[in-house]
């Protein structure tokens, strides 16, 4: 028999991701004939909505791109606009913004590690089913997530679409006492994060290493949130304002999200793996040791192990939040004065899922003339397809249900946020039995 079995892996509604997408993989023998990560989340026109609005509205409007990581949108927006206006923020505001981001990383990473990704490793459809056998684990996850949300709530007013972030600072800043009240919870969260590292490291990982171009911010003194140069393991080292000179967004037919590539090279990877590999030396020594103790050293090239890296970042975020609280002294004023001015400003910040680029052009009345937003998931989208092209042939012998689930697990390693990327996902694997 000369049969070249054609196999289709198809997932019509990709679950446990934010937003709507599908997967389609067509295998002919062991060759991948087609991989499409489709994003059918309806198009959302944020860049167009921003035109004609005052810059002060940008943090509120862009937050609505994503209910999971609104702080990332607010942070990229305020930093880009501050650059356009030539504003320097006081150190206390800078520290509070790091703390704000720590809250979002804790909440978002916990959601992903325990509720969206871990069920794949343990063979459950979801965290609720997992809770039946692992109730203490899920209860710990919920408490950890709640602590992240508590930080966000204090600084931003509420967990989803916070209201306090402003160009120049915050509408209102917390008192030292309010921050000190978080310490007990964060100390518990730090311990729970350490347990999370050990727990995730004990999971089984497919042996799948790829030669990625990792792209992340890098700051001279610290693990990156809001500042730094944009670097990669293949020699990229640029000011964030030069992003568009080095990266290109391609519009592909099967997706309502745009695909990003590094000019002249191709797909790249952003997010926890990239940050960890490019900034390991900037993690506090105690956090480095936590990683090394579970066998995690840069470069980590297995995307499935991103769950452990996320857990390490949880440890970092808790430790960093505690540091920020210790060092906090309230600023003289919650925000610096801002004045309308013609200008163009770009900023990149590290959303939980990776770098988030914003650019704004402003007129003399503070109106936004043009805006550009490149979310992390659209940057990872091409890389996800490239991974599946390499990974799917290994699943040829597996039953279709198992092959499909493994592909979903690979995709979820990226913690894709599809709502973000549309300005993103559906999974479908094509297996035709062909016995000619």
């Amino acid at each position: 028999m000369t049969g070249r079995a054609t196999k289709t892996i198809r997932v019509n509604t990709l679950a446990r991701v934010e937003g709507e997408g599908s997967l389609y993989i067509k295998l002919v023998g062991e060759r991948v004939a087609d991989v499409k990560l489709k994003i059918y989340e309806p198009p959302r026109f944020f860049e167009a909505f921003l035109r004609g609005r005052h810059f002060s509205e940008a943090p509120d409007i862009t937050a609505r791109i994503c209910g999971i990581c609104p702080i990332a949108y607010q942070m990229s927006a305020v930093h880009a606009i501050e650059r356009a206006l030539g504003i320097q923020i006081p150190p206390a505001v800078r520290l509070l913004r790091r703390l704000f981001y720590c809250g979002e990383w804790i909440e978002s990473h916990t959601l992903h590690v325990y509720m969206l990704h871990a069920p794949d490793f343990l063979g459950y459809a979801d965290a609720i089913a997992m809770a039946k056998d692992h109730r203490a684990v899920v209860e710990k996850a919920l408490r950890l997530k709640k602590i992240g949300n508590r930080v966000v709530q204090l600084l931003g007013g509420r967990e989803i679409h916070p209201i306090s972030a402003a160009v120049g600072g915050f509408y209102k800043v917390p008192t030292e006492q309010q921050l000190r009240d978080l310490v007990g919870d964060l100390e518990w969260a730090l311990e729970a994060s350490l347990e999370t590292v050990r727990w995730t490291a004990s999971l089984e990982f497919p042996n799948f290493e790829q030669d990625y171009e990792f792209v992340a911010l890098r700051h001279e003194g610290e693990y990156p949130f809001n500042e730094g140069r944009l670097v990669s393991n293949r020699g990229l080292d640029i000011d964030t304002a030069e992003y568009e000179d080095h990266f290109l967004e391609l519009h592909v037919k099967h997706s309502n999200a745009l695909h990003s590539v590094v000019r002249g090279r191709g797909s790249y990877l952003v997010g926890p793996l990239a940050r960890f590999n490019l900034n390991f030396d900037k993690l506090p020594e105690t956090v480095q040791r936590v990683a090394i103790d579970v066998g995690l050293r840069p470069p980590v090239k297995n995307i499935f192990r991103s769950i452990v890296v996320r857990a390490v970042e949880l440890v970092f975020a808790c430790a960093e939040a505690l540091r920020a609280i210790r060092e906090y002294e309230p600023p003289a004023s919650p925000r610096v004065e801002v004045h309308n001015r013609i200008g163009v400003g770009q900023a990149i910040t590290e959303a939980p899922r990776g770098i988030l680029y914003h650019r704004y052009a402003l007129d003399e009345n503070g109106k936004i003339l043009a805006a550009k937003i490149v979310p992390p998931t659209s940057q990872n989208q091409k890389r996800i397809e490239d991974d599946l092209r390499e990974y799917a042939p290994r699943l040829v012998a597996a039953p279709i249900e198992e092959a499909t689930w493994k592909c979903e697990q690979a995709i979820r390693s990226y913690d894709p946020c599809i709502s973000c990327a549309t300005h993103f996902l559906k999974l479908s694997v094509d297996r035709e039995e062909n016995t000619d």
């Binding site: 509604t13 990709l14 679950a15 446990r16 991701v17 934010e18 937003g19 989340e41 309806p42 198009p43 959302r44 026109f45 944020f46 860049e47 167009a48 909505f49 509205e57 509120d60 609505r64 791109i65 994503c66 209910g67 999971i68 609104p70 509720m115 969206l116 459809a125 979801d126 965290a127 609720i128 089913a129 809770a131 109730r135 899920v138 209860e139 919920l142 408490r143 997530k145 709640k146 949300n149 007013g157 509420r158 967990e159 989803i160 679409h161 209201i163 306090s164 402003a166 509408y171 209102k172 967004e249 391609l250 519009h251 592909v252 037919k253 745009l258 689930w405 979903e408 709502s419 300005h423």
Partner: protein
């Protein structure tokens, strides 16, 4: 999610054009989540589970607005599958921020965002769910308040009317003892015309309300416009204030269009 629960009420969570924030509110109810899933069967909730059971469902929670031909058809199917249909959030109840397209040339928008416009299929209007199918209850907010959501689910399962106030943000401010930022400091604030539910969050953080819970029961928007004008806002600014996350709610829509005409 839990298959051994034949007698529990079945809940489905459906998403249309949205940011996922309102359905995330359910997962953000960290203290109540395990209790909720003990009392009901979460039968369909793709954001949280790959087990997606077919309808019918006792309660359908719908997030997002209708912006594509496919979604306009899909909501009809969702309605047929749900005994009680509850829309959650500004997108589902008012068209959301996506409704800003309703005053614009969508083809031009597509050209701004996408390099190959012919790949994109979308409607000219972003509309609330109630424009397409009968809705049993609309829960407002951008995002919704998770405590209101839990209270609403509980009331629905008990067969009683939910206690969700439709008065204005001003009442919440008074109850919190906030000094009125509009009166005392001249900060433009949509609180008087906006439905309560957020806990008067923005005024409590020293900024004016921007109307994310949509119009209160009987909003006096023309008086609101006058107040904004007195505080030195140009008509174009007042129009923009009404044209936020609930821009297509008819009272706010009328107010912004009046400002544009004058």
């Amino acid at each position: 999610m839990n298959s051994d629960s034949r007698h529990k009420p079945r809940i489905g969570v459906f998403k249309f054009a949205s940011c996922d924030g309102c359905q995330l509110s359910l997962l953000n109810a960290e203290d109540e989540l395990l209790g909720v899933v003990g009392a009901v069967e979460i039968a369909y909730f793709p954001e949280a589970s790959r087990a997606m059971s077919k309808g019918p469902y006792d309660i359908g929670l719908v997030e997002g607005s209708i912006t594509t031909h496919q979604d306009a058809k899909r909501i009809q199917e969702v309605r047929k599958q749900c005994k009680t249909l509850i829309t959650i959030g500004a997108c589902a109840t008012a068209g959301g921020i996506q409704a800003l397209r309703n005053w614009k040339d969508v083809d031009e928008f597509i050209r701004v965002v996408y390099a190959t416009p012919q790949f994109i299929s979308t409607l000219n209007l972003s509309t609330p769910i109630a424009d397409h199918v009968p809705v049993d209850f609309e829960l407002r907010g951008c995002p919704i308040n998770k405590h209101q959501l839990l209270a609403l689910i509980t009331a629905t399962l008990a067969g009683r009317k939910p206690n969700i106030p439709s008065y204005s943000v001003c009442l919440e401010c008074k109850r919190k003892g906030n000094v009125c930022i509009a009166v005392a400091r001249g900060v433009p604030c949509l609180g008087p015309v906006t439905q309560a539910g957020c806990g008067a969050l923005c005024p409590s953080y020293d900024r004016g309300c921007y109307g994310c819970y949509g119009p209160m029961e009987t909003p006096n928007t023309s008086s609101m416009t006058s107040q904004f004008r007195i505080l030195g806002q140009a008509n174009s600014q007042v129009a923009r204030a009404f044209r936020g996350f609930n821009a297509w709610a008819w009272q706010f829509r009328k107010a912004s269009e009046e400002c544009e005409r004058t």
